[in-house]
Symmetry: C7
């Protein structure tokens, strides 16, 4: 419960998460990788934006493009 240098995303690994991106897109998929810049790799991904529904085997979302990760 203390202040940390980096928030620990480890307990979200292999969990289905929803990522909201700054470019307006939203993705639901399994978080399989992340790094110190909060670049994220999701697998078995569903893109939730209405205009352009799409599925991706794998997507790497740039940390600078991540707004939030929720479960």
């Amino acid at each position: 419960m203390e202040n940390e240098k980096h928030i620990n995303l480890e307990k979200l690994l292999n969990v289905i998460v929803v990522v909201s991106a700054k470019d307006g897109r939203r993705f639901r998929g399994k978080l399989t990788q992340y790094d110190d810049y909060m670049n994220l790799v999701l697998e078995e991904v569903e893109e939730l934006s209405k205009e352009a529904p799409a599925k991706h085997k794998l997507i790497m979302i740039k940390g600078g493009n991540v707004s939030s990760i929720s479960v």
Copy 2:
């Protein structure tokens, strides 16, 4: 009351806060984690934006997406 290298959010830990995000969304929830980049973890979260009311068990809001935290 002195200038500090990092504002101390410790007294907001486990407190219900409202977070305004740069992407226009607002969240009310319990602040359970934060780090030096002001990445925040809220739990038992209510999204206050009118268009898309939603509840999240947990949300990690990217520091770069945080505009303000109020109580």
Copy 3:
């Protein structure tokens, strides 16, 4: 009156200031804390934006969201 590494906000501590934020909101309140990133804590805060007048006991405004501080 010399160039300084960081502008000294110390004389604004405990002074009522108006903070203009990049997200379009404006706040009037007592400056009670700040840090090197110009993250600010205001207390007894009045939000001056017309659409959504509001009062906050305390607000932490992210440095990256601060446009100006005036008295």
Copy 4:
């Protein structure tokens, strides 16, 4: 499966990927180079934006302009 300093794009080298850019453009091409800033080089590139379909022999996309890479 651990937290890493940099997400490893090596397994995407020489793979056909789709890059979504912050400026709204989308590109499909073979990833032939990348660096620590996620600057990317694609070859045999098709620009997928409808308004201005175009082909490029090679494009270097600035890391700061990359939103996501998907396969």
Copy 5:
């Protein structure tokens, strides 16, 4: 006339300047302080934006919000 690590604003100290800010506001006032991030302090300030003319005793303009300083 050589390349310098930081442009020297010293000769503008105590001079009436016009500051154009990224948020669209323009200020005319006496430059009384600045730092390495180009955070500026103006005193006896007139806000030149038409919609909301205003006077400020003192304003601190965030370096990241400064577009230009002219005399």
Copy 6:
């Protein structure tokens, strides 16, 4: 074909390239200089934006304003 600290633009030196800039402008010209921030110098430059066609003997495009470089 390995990950590099900086993508090597050397083979584009003295080549005619098209630079897409974040401010919406596009330039075609000979790349004669670049640096680690991807600041670029083009010579014998044609500005491809329709509204304001223009020619420049030389243009320095700020790295932060570069979206992509294509050939």
Copy 7:
């Protein structure tokens, strides 16, 4: 003709240049100073934006506000 840590603006010193700024303004004037952040000082400056033609004795343009410099 080699990659450099910083593009050398020295040969543009005391030359009449046109600076395009991110805030949409364009300036023509003599480049008399610059620094590592590409903060620029122009003297005898004409502002080329149509809506608000203006002359400035001297303008300091923040590096982060510079899109391009052309001759």
